[in-house]
């Protein structure tokens, strides 16, 4: 562990800084290389399992440089977390909430979440790991709290319009709905390996995933429309 006297200030702004950072290009900053390497390392090994030395080697960077750009291992970890969550929030907001059909809008959100998590399993692993740390680092990042709020507002709006127009059942709660959605789009990813071993089936198989998604989507639609 490190001490971490950092309390608020987001040591590393997660948005693109300096020349758009085209990854893979030779003209990648030392800082960028560190971030990329760190993301891979933290994703693969979690915070405690991650090795600074491996990050350094992968980024082909001198130890001193890490401590020049970041406060230390934890600082780097926070930066990576902010970066990954930033990407999620940034894309999430692209939905046209104002005019979309409420049911369709919500299902679209579901689809987006499903596909984003499947495409960015880094993020899923980072979040899973961060929860195991009891959100110790996330808690300190103002940036993360700020970037999350719009989502619930959007859902709220869709639910309101939907229940007003009678297309959606009333009484739904935005946060709860969001949690259900994420549960149904993230759980099978944050547990692929264990589930695959336990039940001796490959849950990473695209067909299996497609069937699962269809199930989940159906479940959600019925839930939103529930009459009874």
């Amino acid at each position: 562990m490190t001490g971490d006297s950092r309390t608020e200030a987001p040591a590393a702004t997660p948005r693109k800084r300096r020349r758009a950072s085209t990854p893979g290009t030779a003209a990648e900053t030392t800082r960028d290389r560190l971030m990329r390497a760190a993301r891979a390392e933290f994703t693969q090994h979690g915070f405690a399992g991650a090795r600074v030395e491996r990050i350094l080697a992968k980024a082909r960077v001198n130890p001193r440089m890490l401590y020049h750009h970041f406060p230390g291992k934890s600082g780097l970890y926070v930066a990576v977390l902010e970066d990954a969550l930033g990407e999620l929030r940034q894309h999430e907001l692209r939905l046209d909430v104002e005019r979309a059909d409420p049911l369709e809008g919500l299902l679209q959100l579901f689809d987006f979440l499903n596909d984003h998590f499947e495409a960015n399993q880094d993020l899923v692993r980072l979040l899973s790991n961060e929860n195991l740390l009891k959100a110790r680092f996330m808690r300190r990042s103002a940036a993360i709290r700020e970037m999350s709020s719009p989502t619930l507002a959007m859902i709220d709006q869709l639910l309101a319009r939907g229940s007003e127009s009678g297309h959606l059942a009333p009484g739904h709660d935005a946060l709860r709905l969001y949690v259900h959605m994420v549960a149904l789009t993230q759980f099978h990813l944050s547990n692929v390996h264990t589930l695959s071993v336990i039940f001796d089936q490959d849950l990473a198989d695209p067909h299996w995933r497609a069937a699962r998604k269809a199930d989940a989507r159906t479940m959600l639609r019925h839930f939103l429309l529930k009459i009874e």
Copy 2:
């Protein structure tokens, strides 16, 4: 935090014999103390973050004894994992699958899972961590695979009887259904801290949890009954 004051027979303990172990007695064997301490430590810190020294201290046991009873840190970890999963499987099987009404049976399973995970968050954290390790250790345990197989069979049976009698929609798949159930009973737990921070609400609140459970239960019932 987690509750587990279990003293019962550890379903999965293929290692040493345990001298009649008089459950509930104060006389706890060294091995038992190690297991309890290890479970707490691995639960709290994950495998990489766990410290053998702390386990030893908590169990008031000499370093050598750990290696007398277990092959090492990993061996101890696997034993803990088997123990925790064993408890789940053992109780799961107590459900009366044979005679229960299919829908009721499945919802009963849902209730059981929901309550078991909420009562045994140790297990949830262990599984979450083990997945981050890509099920590296679980993969070695035949015991875990074996103890898990009856679960799907049980669900299969209920689904079959339900669709035959026309009470349940046909075409459901046992594994997929189980994954949905676990998603809807585990996700909010394996992400409490992160979600609570991100949305600035306490997802550990009993009322919130009760409401969430009701939602999930409804969602599941509709899904099972779906006619469309």
Copy 3:
């Protein structure tokens, strides 16, 4: 290390004690089993590399029993050493020194040494290891010093008779001759593995050994007969 306050008394008499000890038989004393196991262990791993636990396991004996029969690891080691050397000396004395032809007698001794070492590589390894320990343990054993003296006397006698009769060159020294003999019968054994690796040839091959022995024997005969 252990302390070893033992200075003189040979804790363990190496000669057969109790019922002739027929090795391999079920009626083998605990002490015998310990000796057999210890000899194998010390032979294979040397003193520092030997593990008390392995000896215990191999002898199927309880730790306490080792310390009942021996003062500890070192005591056991000394007993093994005495035992192995005792066997050598005991056989060596069977030559008829009084009447044998001097040259033949000495060559017979050479043959005996050659064959005994090849047949008892345990002993060779034990001696090699003991020298690495600077004869630390051997030095303490009065038994070993006592059992060795007859050999030189025997050689002396043969050399004397041989030089008197003119059959052997004069001026030979018993100890030096003995050292030459042992060098030429033991070295290739106490270095088999290294030499085999270094020169990429199998020095354990019986043909190679036979040729080597013939060489050595010739060398020795010429040496004893040298006129020049």
Copy 4:
């Protein structure tokens, strides 16, 4: 005890580069200090008996640095072994094989070996210990095999020239001859302590050694010239 104040280039150092290393200078690199300390430690205690901690203390080096420069205890041990054997081979090759009189050449080799081993008893002990380990580590070192091959070739050449010219007996084998030579130059060293104790005489005494060497040299000359 052993003398080796060597500061020359370590013939066998296939690892890190050594910055021009100005031989003879007081400025000894960390790696050099480690090697020197390790050589002393492994020589004195063998591989199993050697303590990394003592090497570290003697070299005044931080634990981490050992593992920065070497793969671990075994790696360090192998490096020491290569170093010591490298010195032997390097000097061995300085003999003028091409032009020397065959008999003189071989006796010169004998003299060199005798003196080198007496002066570098480190090497003798290392080899003896390595054989007890069944050449486990040496086997991994290609460097050692490579550096050793010229030796036999050299002997072969001398034997060939000698038997052609009729000065040496025909039928000699290079490897066997080398083994005899090393037996007669190394055995009394790799068994000094045990022999000295067993026969209660000081085999380290220079006079004794000189007489022994003379004996061995004679023995070898006669062997090479043998007509019979």
